[in-house]
């Protein structure tokens, strides 16, 4: 087995280098949930390679979303830009601002991209555009959603999933058992997830979170975000329905499966995993609202780095078009649990059959009607981290007030945004 793989690898290397005809391009992708997704992705790549002769795609597994960004950027800066990268959907903006990725029109030639984007859900479109050009094609998307244990609900006498924040608090308190025996609600508060959920709560609280038109503005020290910070922190310190301190997403899913948490908020991207692992009756529901129903999208899109040859660009577009076709995107959605960003995927018979069998998958899609874009600003990660630091501090320290936290988050984020603002909105001549 050992030798066979080695020889196989050697042969593969020889064959690849001797086949001059096919244009070789690299496709970097992270594994969002587990090993089997990475294998499935390699299968898709193989299927594409054998479907035509012009392009040979090399699928490169690149770890987590963050590792993927670091690796692809480093490769581009070192002079080996990857032709296609599956990148966290909100990074396209800053990559475009830093002149690292190219607008898709450079790959797509005469294709009517605006027309193509019409086939995608309205919620995923804003993150794909920058300065009026399409910079990324959505591939796998998600929104935060509420998972709940129906058996616990019945036991606590709750008949339906909470729809408003008041009902949510009420349910969480009823479901909690003292001494940490059971938590009413758990939400991941590790970096990245944290900012996404603060944004979700802010949007449900009527807020914008960031300026979706101008990437140099963020609204942390505003009523909607302040309220979101307070609402989340109160679950832990006031209602005692959530553990204090930071809880990472793995703790959240494991606690849910072991019955230690009755309600959890996780990405719809975890849906298949929850379906396979929950040994009890569970269901999913919209994120509860205070002012309105609204959630940010998440997930990943395909981008192309600057500096590839024309032939590589052509090959990249061929691969991107194939991978984001309604058929493939639908297949990937059924396999992973992400929703398919291309609306037309849901018109295909396989998808209709699947959603009929798994109504929870449909719930994620229904929530899309209320979804908005994901935070994407100048220097997104640093801006997002400013509020995440404060949210983590709020969850750990019962003495810290939400007003102080919001003010500090705003101050730190403004400092990050200042250079951009100076060059743009504040340049008055």
């Amino acid at each position: 087995m050992f030798i066979r793989s080695a020889v196989g690898a050697l042969c593969a290397g020889l064959i690849a280098s001797s086949a001059v005809a096919a244009e070789r391009i690299e496709f970097m992708f992270p594994a969002p949930v587990q090993g089997k997704l990475s294998r499935e992705m390699q299968k898709l790549v193989k299927e594409f390679n054998s479907s035509q002769d012009g392009v040979e795609v090399v699928g490169v597994f690149t770890g987590s979303y963050d590792d993927t960004k670091v690796k692809s950027q480093a490769a581009a800066e070192a002079g080996k830009p990857p032709a296609v990268v599956l990148m966290s959907a909100n990074f396209a903006t800053e990559l475009a601002m830093n002149d690292l990725i190219v607008p898709i029109k450079e790959l797509a030639g005469d294709t009517d991209l605006d027309g193509l984007m019409q086939e995608f859900w309205p919620a995923v479109r804003p993150n794909a555009y920058f300065n009026g050009d399409v910079y990324s094609i959505p591939f796998q998307n998600s929104t935060p959603i509420l998972y709940y244990n129906k058996e616990h609900f019945a036991e606590a006498g709750i008949t339906k999933a909470p729809e408003t924040w008041a009902e949510w608090v009420d349910a969480a308190k009823k479901l909690t058992k003292p001494e940490g025996e059971r938590w009413g609600i758990m939400m991941p508060s590790n970096y990245d997830y944290n900012g996404w959920l603060v944004q979700a709560l802010t949007m449900a609280n009527g807020g914008q979170f960031y300026n979706t038109v101008y990437p140099g503005e963020i609204f942390y020290d505003h009523a909607s975000t302040q309220g979101a910070l307070k609402f989340w922190r109160d679950f832990a310190h006031q209602h005692k329905a959530m553990p204090t301190g930071v809880t990472n997403s793995k703790q959240v899913s494991t606690s849910f499966f072991s019955g230690k948490a009755s309600m959890i908020v996780l990405s719809t991207g975890a849906l298949t995993f929850v379906r396979e692992n929950a040994k009890f009756d569970y269901d999913v529901a919209f994120m509860p609202r205070n002012i309105r129903n609204s959630v940010p999208i998440g997930g990943a899109s395909l981008v192309s780095f600057k500096g590839t040859t024309d032939a590589q660009k052509k090959g990249a577009w061929e691969f991107i078009s194939w991978l984001t076709s309604a058929e493939k995107i639908g297949h990937w959605s059924r396999f992973t649990g992400y929703f398919a960003p291309r609306q037309t995927a849901y018109d295909l018979p396989e998808m209709k059959k699947f959603t009929a069998e798994h109504p929870d998958a449909l719930r994620a899609v229904e929530q899309l009607a209320y979804a908005g874009p994901w935070i994407a600003t100048y220097n997104t990660v640093a801006v997002r981290k400013a509020v995440e630091d404060e949210m983590q501090a709020l969850l750990s320290d019962p003495e810290l007030t939400f007003r102080e936290a919001a003010a500090r988050a705003q101050k730190n984020a403004d400092a990050v945004l200042a250079p951009y603002a100076e060059q743009t909105a504040l340049t008055l001549k």
Binding site: N98, K250, K260, A393
Partner: protein
């Protein structure tokens, strides 16, 4: 092999040391000095990314990092982390070696088991330890609960998270260092110990007056590798905490990683690298000087 000529030409003889150094030097030049030079230059410019054409700004980046609470926090965290991993892991390594000094069937097995954590890649160990440290359900809390200790949020409490990472590092490295102490102990002459015993020294006195002084160089050697690992390994930070909660586990290298690759601030990243390197070199230097002195004393 040719019969050597004893009279090598003088010119060749004087070039010989440089030729011997050349292979190592070429690698160092290509992958250490050249990039370090670039780092040094970048730390004096206002470049945001590697490709930028920045302008010279003097020591401004250095002022900026020393005013940055996150950098100062990472510096303090790293100092704490270094102390909290080097001391216990070296101490455990030493004690394990003392206890398992004699080679028997049992001690061979115990040594193997203690060495295994070293062989698990840090990324894998970190993934497993997310479960170990999980409040309530995880391995640690599950058994602590049987002793009546209530659930603890090991990685999610800013006061405990760094300590939890230290525990992981100690678990992973103690057996590794044990190996060096086992070797060092073998070098302690039996007669010195015997002599001390005859003079009526108990085991503690023998340890303090005979064994530990003899192991001086081993201690210094192990301290240096432990120190380098405390500064240069951050895989577990990336997998387990991302520097959180609220930056309480952000180490220097993680700070640098973040500034360079996520925040597009090459100036801060490179200035922080230079500062870290100077700190590490100074500490390693002091330890190595100790090695030098001890070795001279012996020969």
């Amino acid at each position: 092999m040719n019969k050597p000529t004893r009279e090598t030409p003088r010119s060749f003889r004087s070039a010989r040391p440089y030729l011997l150094l050349l292979p190592a030097f070429l690698c160092l030049a290509a992958f250490t000095y050249w990039p370090m030079l670039q780092v040094l230059l970048a730390s004096l410019s206002d470049k945001k990314r590697v490709g930028d054409s920045g302008t010279f700004v003097g020591a401004e980046n250095y002022f900026r990092i020393f005013q940055d609470a996150h950098f100062l926090g990472a510096l303090a965290n790293n100092a704490l982390y270094a102390a909290g991993t080097v001391i216990p892991s070296v101490l455990f390594g030493f004690l394990f070696a003392l206890a398992l000094r004699e080679t028997t069937n049992l001690s061979s097995i115990l040594r193997s088991v203690l060495f295994f954590p070293t062989l698990v890649p840090l990324v894998g160990a970190a993934a497993v330890f997310i479960f170990v440290f999980m409040p309530d359900i995880g391995l640690l809390d599950y058994y602590l609960a049987k002793l009546g200790v209530s659930a603890t949020n090991w990685l999610g409490n800013p006061d405990l998270a760094l300590v939890s990472l230290m525990a992981l590092t100690t678990w992973k490295n103690a057996g590794y260092y044990m190996l060096f102490f086992l070797a060092g102990l073998q070098g302690v002459p039996q007669d010195a110990e015997e002599a001390a015993k005859i003079e009526g020294a108990n085991w503690l006195q023998r340890l303090y007056f005979v064994i530990i002084p003899m192991l001086g160089p081993t201690f210094a050697f192990v301290m240096v590798i432990a120190l380098i690992s405390a500064v240069s390994q951050i895989d577990h930070v990336i997998v387990m905490t991302d520097g959180g909660p609220n930056n309480s586990t952000s180490l220097l290298l993680y700070y640098i990683y973040q500034q360079a690759h996520e925040f597009y601030d090459l100036g801060k990243a490179t200035a922080a690298t230079v500062v870290t390197l100077i700190a590490l070199l100074t500490l390693s230097f002091l330890s190595m000087r100790t090695v030098e002195r001890k070795v001279h004393y012996e020969t």
